[in-house]
Amino acid sequence: MKPQRKISRRRFIHEANCAAVGSISLFSSLLSLRLTAGAVSANSTFPDYKALVCLFLGGGNDSFNMLIPRQVDAHADYVTARGGLYNDPHQSGGLAIPTEELLPIQSAGQSISEFGLHPNMPFLQSLYNQGNCAFVANVGTLIEPTTLAQYNSNEVKLPAGLFSHSDQKVHWQTIVPQVRGAGPKGWAGRMAEVMDQANQSSSIAMNISLSGNNVLQSGFGTVPYITDYKGAVSLNANDSDLFSQTAVNSLLSQHYKNIYQKTLGESTRKAIDSSVAFKDAVDPIKTTTSFPSSQTGKRLAMISRIMQARMGLGMERQIFFIRRGGWDHHSGILEKQPDLLAEVDEALEAFWTELELLGLQDNVVLYTASDFGRTLTSNGTGSDHAWGGNQFLMGGGVNGGKIYGQFPTLLGGSDYDLGRGRLLPSTSVDAYTAELASWFGVPPSELTTVIPNAHNFFDPTSNPYPLGILNNLVT
């Protein structure tokens, strides 16, 4: 067993105070957050509406079966790594999709130019070819740039709890993977606090979740407003015998000392108050496009309604979160993943159609995230927890039609292979996130609040778009 270097919160703060490598800015920026909250808007205006949508593929999408090398040799490596073709008549257990089934796309800037998408993603293919969709290859959670040799010799700090769902999905959301748990809060929560004056007239939080509580959208002093695909829930809206408003108000105005009571009372009160404003603005709005009735479809339909209600809600900035679970395909991957990819593709098509009808396609960026990538090797009917994986973004502001980061060779024994086809990420979530945060309006001077480890990967001041995906700003 290798000695591990997991970092507790206590250790982390201690190291930060001692200005240990890689953590210089971290603690101070987290600490100063409350002081700088709203600082951005004091000197800025928000003339253009912007919305960010996180589509979180819960469980760990096997994304090397979503974006696949199509060029002859590279595809052959892919087939070998995945234990053969899934439809090989001579042997079962392979996970690779044959060339002829892939939906072709091309990309400049990679060692090969021919790629393919999973056959169930025709909409994404067309969006990519229109230049409104881009991929980021082999992206994952890192504390600092890491090579295979450094990984093996423990020369660098590694995320705590690698390969575990509960840790890695949180790290994607805090982007402070040296800390275990949600203590550093989510980057979208921190971002909303930096920009909190963008929605001055709104009683609804900038962060809106369609999938319950999450780390991404929780800040130090803010929590997301949570709704679901059916719309706002208010206290007994569906009944003639209404709760007595006076009594409810009085009951929830009590000051409780017990922390569980206090937290419950306050959250109930907030839920009731928010639902009133939300319902008034959102309920009257309907979608023009017909959305699929899938989990993802229903939620994207509601998101498009909330976007349309932005004026009524008094919001110039919105951040949405959807979690679609079910991607932990240790088994049955060939039956289950295609259905999920189809669900996503169909829902995105309806969403894009609606955005175009609303004229919002340039004001919105949707991006994907997931717990981790999965092993390239097969366990017979599925794949296991790994690290780096592929993600995509869509929106009119995306410099699309391109794969960013470095698409790795998939043959076992490469410079990225930790064994079993577990790939060391070649691009950090930090760089991916910087694109989103900069586009959303976080100035370079505040970028380290949102991305505390940024300095380890790029200079946030001179290079706030480290990958170059979203730097053609819509004005």
């Binding site: 067993m1 591990q4 270097r5 997991k6 507790s8 206590r10 250790r11 201690h14 819960g58 042997q91 257990g93 709890g161 748990g181 949600a182 319950g212 509580n213 803010t222 929590v223 949570i226 679901d228 719309g231 829930v233 206290l235 007994n236 809206a237 569906n238 009944d239 015998d241 007595s244 006076t246 009594a247 009085s250 009951l251 929830l252 009590q254 017990n258 922390i259 569980y260 009571q261 206090k262 937290t263 419950l264 306050e266 959250s267 907030k270 839920a271 639902s275 679970g325 240790h330 088994s331 092993t375 090797t377 097969s378 366990n379 017979g380 009917t381 599925g382 296991d384 079993r420 086809g421």
Partner: protein, 730 residues
């Protein structure tokens, strides 16, 4: 609670103080001896019987947090999250607080004595141990055991627990088999390796075909669409008879009564157990264990194969007061778990093609079921290495190593007399030798395991030997102890409480009684329920003490307390998708990580105090209000569906009615009604403000006739349901 806690004196702080200012309220430390490891605060030992003393610290004189406390007949001890060391002497105690670079203030706070009646103490106990007490449950407790005194920790409570353990278990599989397939025969007394005959009772012809079932690919509903001879089966009650039994229903309603989504059948059985089973503590224990060894509809398959799901659930019913090791084994071999965490059909590595064993079960059996991620002290605190780092229990190389152990497992061959859609999901998985990896494995402590004889017995030895290794890992007692405490009593147990429960688990004894075998769950649950931290009423004054109740239990408690009676043809409760509605429902955990994590921290006071509150994870703007609406809907309209968010059952006519007999008799006196509801629903915790708000509200409502009085009861309950007093245990 009538009285506010008061601040009292004196305190002594040891160290070289540059300046020490005593105010009426606190001791102020401006600096202290930097040579010392910690700040040493001395408190006097005083008699705290029936009361609580807390030592608080602040760096602002505004926000105070508790670091140590003493209550009842106990001694001073550190409290979560930091749990500082405390040295108790005969007349004083030293608390060793952590150093910081800021000014610190300390003060001692003494609470008034907690005055709860015997009935209220029983109600508080039954709120922890059942799906919610009815008034009659509290009465029966007093009749059978007498009322506890305020400081009683074991006594009558232990007597009740003992009796609960001896109540005949409600088996979910048995309940299903008795009233589903008329061809089921009794094989429950058989015993054979590789077969699970436990609960394999025969069909009860007096019940007929009340529950739908699968036989091969055919689905037999208990209505006119049933392919068996005669509607509703060959024997027993037919749909036509059922219509006659409920003449008030029209045929459309009648048909709907017996026609529901196939995934609901197992939930019907679960609700039957929660509502009506006498073995409430066992059912609560099973529910807790099922939240530890999680499976759920999301991520599984064949939702309508009821015997598969109830057969798995029965593991926890059977072993609720048995041994953890037996559960670990049964869960590991159960094909339903094998499917869920994909050990089923995992094979040894095939290097020629680059195939490797599935890692899923190897990971989760450690992370979630036994040892957790970090090495623990016996009292649950993290072990730290010399540099202050927590120590991981395993790394990914260990996962790949142990994945080899869970190979070669396949489903048992299909046999008769079980519910099936073509496969056997009842009997334990079998070994296919050619697929098992018999090689030697290196365990977490560096010891070797195997190699094993390449036989079925060799594979069993490999798997069971590894489960033994995990079971005997020193992490298991504290890891499981904290889990179980959080399910029943409080969210942030002190290290002493965790160690007390962990010790019962490890030694197999509770206060000297028990099997003496590690993993004894009877001893463990007694330790959970009968530790002073679970029982003391004085702790209701500790602001960090308690927990948010599970949303499902909050719903069920109202339904039970109001004696909800099913009006469905066969007296069953048909809820649907409660998880979607308020964040929790039987068989509906979203992932193997359950509805919530033990370490979930909601934003706000709990997060700022660095404490945990699992049940807040599924609680949000949607689910929180959905739950309140569901309870409101229940008391106003009965068990009935409604549009969108109030849609708790798939019906537009009531399938359950509230029984107002008890409450109506009290409703002419608002104060009597509130006293009753306070006792049954809030265990006497209702605040004076809540009482007075409800008094004003109800007194302002008409009371001319019975319907008016019912409305008062309805209003009272639906308002009480949103109070923190009802929603939390403390």
């Amino acid at each position: 609670m009538k009285d506010e806690p008061r601040v009292k004196y004196p305190l002594f702080v040891i160290g070289i103080l540059l300046s020490l200012i005593q105010t009426e309220a606190s001791v102020l430390i401006l600096d202290y001896d930097s040579e010392k490891e910690s700040v040493e605060v001395t408190v006097q030992q005083e008699d705290t019987s029936g009361t609580l003393q807390r030592l608080e610290v602040s760096n602002s004189l505004e926000d105070w947090k508790t670091i140590a406390r003493k209550y009842d007949a106990g001694i001073w001890h550190g409290t979560q999250p930091e749990a500082p060391t405390v040295l108790n002497n005969s007349d004083s105690a030293q608390v060793f607080d952590s150093k910081s670079n800021t000014v610190k203030f300390y003060r001692l706070v003494e609470s008034p004595s907690a005055a709860y009646s015997g009935e209220e103490l029983i109600s508080a106990f039954l709120r922890q141990t059942t799906f919610g007490p009815r008034h009659s449950d509290i009465q029966a407790f007093i009749d059978n055991y007498g009322a506890p005194s305020t400081e009683e920790v074991r006594g009558v409570y232990e007597a009740w627990v003992e009796d609960q353990i001896n109540v005949t278990p409600f088996s979910h599989r048995v309940w299903f088999r008795k009233q589903s397939n008329p061809d089921f025969v009794d094989q429950s007394s058989l015993s054979e390796s590789g077969r699970n005959f436990l609960g394999e009772v025969g069909h009860d012809s007096s019940l007929g075909h009340r529950l739908p079932f699968y036989l091969n690919s055919a689905y037999y509903k208990p209505n006119e669409s049933c392919p068996l001879n005669g509607h509703g089966g060959e024997t027993g009650i037919h749909v036509i008879d059922a219509v006659a039994a409920r003449p008030e229903l029209n045929s459309t309603q009648q048909a709907k009564d017996l026609n529901y989504s196939e995934n609901i059948t197992k939930q019907i059985i679960w609700f039957e157990a929660a509502f009506n089973a006498e073995d409430q503590l066992r059912q609560r224990m099973a529910w807790a264990l099922n939240q530890h060894f999680v499976t759920g509809e999301e991520g599984s398959d064949l939702d309508g194969l009821t015997e598969r799901w109830t057969g798995y659930y029965d593991i926890f019913v059977r072993h609720a007061f048995g041994n953890f090791r037996d559960i670990l084994s049964e869960v590991t071999w159960n094909p339903h778990m094998g499917y869920y965490l994909s050990s089923l059909n995992s094979r040894k590595e095939d290097l020629s093609r680059g195939f490797f064993p599935d890692e899923n079960y190897a990971r989760e059996v450690m992370q979630l079921f036994t040892i957790g991620l970090w090495e623990l002290h016996p009292d649950g605190r993290l072990k730290l290495d010399v540099d202050g780092y927590p120590i991981p229990t395993y790394d990914n190389e260990d996962i790949t190593e142990f994945a080899k152990i869970f190979t070669g497992m396949a489903r048992a061959t299909l046999r008769a007399n079980i519910e099936s859609q073509g496969g056997n999901w009842i009997d334990p998985m079998r070994i296919i030798s050619s697929r098992h990896d018999y090689s030697q494995k290196v365990l977490l402590d560096g010891s070797t395991h195997g190699p094993f004889a390449e036989t079925i017995e060799g594979a069993v030895e490999d798997i069971e030997g590894f489960l033994d290794f995990l079971f005997n890992h020193p992490n298991v007692p504290p890891f499981f102890a904290r889990f179980l405490i959080q399910r029943f009593t409080i969210s942030n147990p002190s290290p002493q409480y965790i160690e007390y429960v962990a010790n019962a688990f490890a030694t197999g004894t509770f206060e000297g009684q028990g099997t003496g075998l590690r993993g004894d769950l009877e001893a463990t649950i007694k330790a959970v329920l009968l530790h002073p931290e679970a029982r003391s009423a004085s702790l209701s004054y500790d602001p960090n003490h308690g927990k948010l109740r599970e949303p499902l239990i909050r719903y069920l408690h109202v339904a039970r307390a109001m004696n909800l009676v099913s009006t469905q043809t066969y007296g069953m409760f048909l809820f649907q998708d409660l998880d979607d509605l308020f964040g929790q429902g039987p068989y509906q955990s979203p992932t193997v990580f359950n509805f919530y994590l033990p370490e979930y921290q909601p934003n706000g006071a709990i997060s700022e105090a660095d404490l945990y509150a699992p049940e807040f994870q599924p609680h949000n703007d949607v689910t929180g209000l959905n739950l309140l609406n569901a309870i409101h809907n229940l008391v106003y309209n009965g068990l009935i569906g409604g549009p969108d968010n109030a849609y708790i059952i798939p019906r537009w006519f009531s399938q359950g009615d509230i029984d107002f007999t008890e409450t109506l008799a009290l409703a002419s006196s608002t104060s009597n009604l509130l006293e009753h509801l306070d006792l049954v629903l809030c265990a006497g915790r209702m605040t004076d403000d809540t009482r007075s708000i409800l008094m004003t509200e109800l007194e302002g409502m008409p009371s001319a006739n019975e319907e008016d009085l019912k409305d008062r009861v309805r209003r009272a309950i639906s308002l009480l349901a949103l109070t923190p007093e009802y929603s939390t245990l403390y």
